[in-house]
Symmetry: D2
């Protein structure tokens, strides 16, 4: 089968690899109809991780069941399904309690597994014609037959729930005000989620006009951090009070004045969020960043305003999204017409065009922001 | 009236000051029968704050209503009451939502006010014969008449709820395992609270044998951090898994190998807490610490393992205790005989002996750990 | 001052009564600019309660502060404010914990007080030129100066938060499906609230076409219970599964086939809600209903499908709305333009026209559904 | 293998039946070392259900894995395990959200399945030498090897978590007061759970002195309902306020003055619980009770004080226990020595003695309250 294979920094190839097959009674094989390129794929692509050549990328996957193992009981061949990017066993303590991003079984020695990602277990990615889905009853979410909402549903695998969880982790309640830092795909999904859940005001912080325009078009108040301290802008706009909730949809590769300042978003959030408020962190922070500028940042240690956080009584919560906790509900919002997250999709391509799409997406050129690959096309 | 007055670093005097009086219709004057010295009083005593000479100390106060303003409707002269250390107006957004440690009205320009504390508003402390209590209906908790449980009830003003909230902020559920760093009065109260609420295992981390013995006597497993990395000890003792919940009852004056290392407890907690767990922080972190060893620590900025926190999906919550949210329930646990927190009390003294007690408590000599002052004695 | 005075069943008069004045240091006098007639006023109007002649009606009140007592600290003359229909002291256990509809102090012997309502305490209603507001700091919510959103803001006193709480009490989470029984003002507010908070599907059950049309216009799926068992219609429409959440916005005066069947809505909800779901009850049930058809119903005892409720593991929660828990957030949703609940308002009148409006509203003629009175007009 | 087989009302036999075997890749076969007789087994035993002869009883099961299917991944032969009485698939919406008592897959057409119980699916019970456990990874909880705590651990299958959930469903918080109606095994477990979780006062209501003595010995205040209205006794004892939380551990076979009055406990609870409180219902109510005294009770419809419930703003929650949500934590409380629920066990027998034990337990003679069967003895 054809698959997008990592060959080394900035090098990808579409190659023929041996077709995914059932390895365990609870496996299913899914024929991928749509799979997306994620911003986090770029970390590997750029060679900033320990990823070794040979990895098949792709953790945002949607398709049709081609084959099931004899242990699978709730799915049948022909079912259309979308998979969370994280893989869970469904019966460890974390999975059972809804922390499906922190499965204790699928990736021994680590809490959490995923498709096609370095250090997330031996699972091939879905930027390929077929995908093996372990514990398929648990990891595959059924979709209506056909190809309706294909572009929306594929976003259930990662970015829509990831943005949504960022809002929830901030302690959000309807009527709250929210500031979302970062207006990339996850940030936009966070803005959109806050909107869907009844935020009274949403600030979207970025420096790219096109992104801010997009955020504004879905109901956010744009804040351009090139035009001044974003926390101050937000505080001024809220009559000095600050926002109830903050969402960091940027992570450790945050920039300020054109250079990487990994703690800049966290600094701003602790400043912009009002006393007793909360911060949700869907943006990635890593415990090992060899490319960081100082020795402690290399270990994921950043200067953090803990004194201010304490003084203001702010709660902070982060981590990989537990996709499965939300995807069913977000699917239903899509089906009922309430949510239509595909507005973030910029390109749809054949699998052969994946290497070029990575290149352009990595350079943020030609409007590449969210690319969908259709491997059967 | 007699009062404990701050005269400058390491200098206190018991002096006659003008007696507290009603200043507002909602005030009450309380004749103090018991007031306690708090570890946080030492920050001022040692001159490590901006406290100016003249402050009357004392934020852990219990007594009998001597006089009420015409607006007070639920209290009468003669009622025995205990006051949360924080003062709330009862009608701002934070007070109304239970964040009574972050009142927006009683200390203009800051979220939160308290008795007898620098920067916490113009409120005289209760290490004196009388205390003015603003918004008395809101800030005074009624106790049974007489002098039963006096030593227990006075702890409702601060350390019992503070330890309790530390456990709650960690996301604690009955059956969870908990590690409490620090076995001073607040740490012991956190251990005791976890015990009362059904923890399955409680680790108490300190280096002072007497403290660890006390913790053990109320059900904790002692961990001496002089005998090796406390996080490692805890992880080993939990078969490699770590604890569900962590409580930092130390704060920014944490030490390691005999010197102040302000982030050492937070580092240990992020290591010792299992993925998807939570951390509660009753220990004080300040946004301004002129005595700190480096420029960023002076601003309350510490190196923090945000990468690891994110990877493990840990939630963190800190801040001053919202005493009023808990004191009613803890009072009832005392009355019914379920809780008896006074085991932490080491000394009871007359107000005239306060300066000596501060001195000994500051030096941690002669067993001074929790001192009660009886100003009417 | 002019006021709407109850003279006996179906008899109201606009009379001059002595003007409201400060009685306690924490009182404020509000000059009423808008006050609404509530469906629950009709219970008194129709003589189905123990209300005695002389009561001034009106618990949905908005106006401008005319005078404040010396204990009031956060309000000033000229502030525009809206009051929850329930009166709270702000410092009893229930008020402090957010159960402001169940104040233990303002109406001795009963948990809860209100303006202008039988058995809810000695508080004159606001269908008058002026209103005395006890514990004004706690009971008055500040609004922007001027007269913007007047028609929306007055709904913050009762029906908007009442519908909203009905949804919250059902255990609602974004993405859930909801069935709201009753499409009167409260039912419409429940539908609207569910919509604002991200429901995936909302069923609105009624028999009046105009109401169902209104519900449909704000996003609901109309279910006419004259066209068949509403629970069955809902179950069929959800592929046999039922809804996640149910809201009873009808109460004990429910009808079926043209006659009063007080338990019919509860029966339908237990049937229509899926196993593990929840039911919120903003609709009024009373423990004493002299006009009921059987002896037990007179005592508020109804046949209830407890066996089915248990089998399905459904949670049920009801009671008067704790308006203060929500009004600040709903106000902000109105100010930011997210919510515009005034679509339910049918008429605006001078106080002199109140008796006629009651008469028409009671008969549900001429489109009278939600009437606003402007006493200063 | 030997098994306890239902032969008809009041008739049981220990017979040889064909040995349980693997039927699906996710099955395990457990060699039962301890299984308990439950009060709910008596419903079938007495012929008050639709149970047909041939059913093997037993839903409280503990043993050692004898054999596993090829899909089972977290268990191995020789593991000691205890099973929740309810069977879940682990991947339906209800299981995934923690409502494991309401699985949508294991018992088609009904939400929930169990071992050895009429209408709960085709699953043989564990009062036998061996038991087939479907979805074994999900349904078997690992225990330490050996036979430590055998009498405590077997109670993890049902009554300990059932009593515990009753307390949780009431909305319990530490410091609350609780009234538990019924001091049979489940009621005692509810009292014990409230104690473990920090209740300030616990009332245990029953009429049997031995039961009340037992409740008192674990910290409850006994209330004998033969000595007067139990709600009134509780209200008087709480200075007129009532309790925060109520637990109904009796269910529909409640009695008053010696005859069955199915709604008597619910009536008492709505009276005894204070405004804004909560009620948890672990006691069984059924939607079909052919033996009931009136036509509506036969359908599980009881007169219920909905008017009073509404007036007091009480929340109510019931249903089968989601054992899996709690059993891990309760196991850890047993292992750490905090909990020792086996104090309720009255008898331990060989399987051959089961028919006699049922007879005596049904008659409540010779102290039979909680009987453990050891099929391998």
């Amino acid at each position: 089968m054809k698959a997008v294979v990592y060959k080394g920094p900035y090098k990808l190839a579409v190659e023929n690899v041996s077709r995914s097959k059932i390895q365990h009674p609870n496996d299913a094989i899914v024929k991928i109809t749509t799979t997306a390129i994620c911003g986090s794929d770029l970390h590997m692509y750029e060679g900033r991780t320990a990823a070794q050549p040979g990895i098949v990328f792709g953790h945002e996957n949607l398709g049709v069941i081609e084959e099931i193992g004899p242990g699978v009981s709730s799915l049948k061949v022909g079912d259309r399904v979308v998979m969370p990017f994280n893989i869970g066993c469904g019966h460890c303590r974390n999975c059972v309690e809804g922390h499906t991003g922190f499965c204790m079984n699928v990736n021994p020695g680590f809490a959490g597994g995923a498709y096609g990602y370095v250090a997330m277990g031996p699972y091939m990615g879905g930027q390929a014609e077929y995908l093996r889905v372990p514990y398929a009853d648990f990891n595959a979410l059924k979709l209506p037959d056909g190809n309706s909402f294909e572009k929306d549903f594929v976003l259930l695998s990662d970015i829509f729930p990831t943005g949504w969880q960022g809002v929830m982790q901030s302690g959000f309640k309807p009527g709250d005000t929210v500031a979302v830092f970062g207006a990339g795909p996850v940030g936009l999904m966070a803005v959109y989620s806050a909107k869907l859940c009844g935020a009274s005001k949403i600030y979207s912080v970025d420096r790219v006009k096109a992104r801010l325009d997009k955020a504004k078009s879905i109901g956010a108040i744009p804040v351009n951090f090139d035009e001044g301290d974003p926390a101050k802008q937000i505080i001024d706009h809220t009559d000095g009070e600050g926002v109830d909730r903050g969402v960091d949809a940027v992570g450790y590769q945050a920039t300020s004045n054109g250079k990487e300042v990994p703690n800049t978003v966290l600094m701003s959030l602790v400043k912009a969020v009002r006393p007793t408020g909360g911060i949700g962190i869907p943006g990635l922070y890593v415990p090992s960043d060899p490319g960081a500028s100082d020795d402690e940042a290399k270990l994921g240690m950043l200067r953090f305003p803990i004194g201010k956080l304490f003084e203001k009584g702010i709660t902070m919560s982060g981590g990989q999204c537990n996709v499965k906790r939300y995807n069913r509900y977000l699917r239903d919002l899509i089906i009922s017409g309430v949510a239509k997250p595909s507005f973030v999709v910029s390109h749809e391509i054949k699998i052969e065009d994946a290497p070029e799409a990575y290149q352009k997406f990595d350079k943020r050129i030609d409007g590449y922001t969210k690319v969908l690959i259709h491997p059967q096309m």
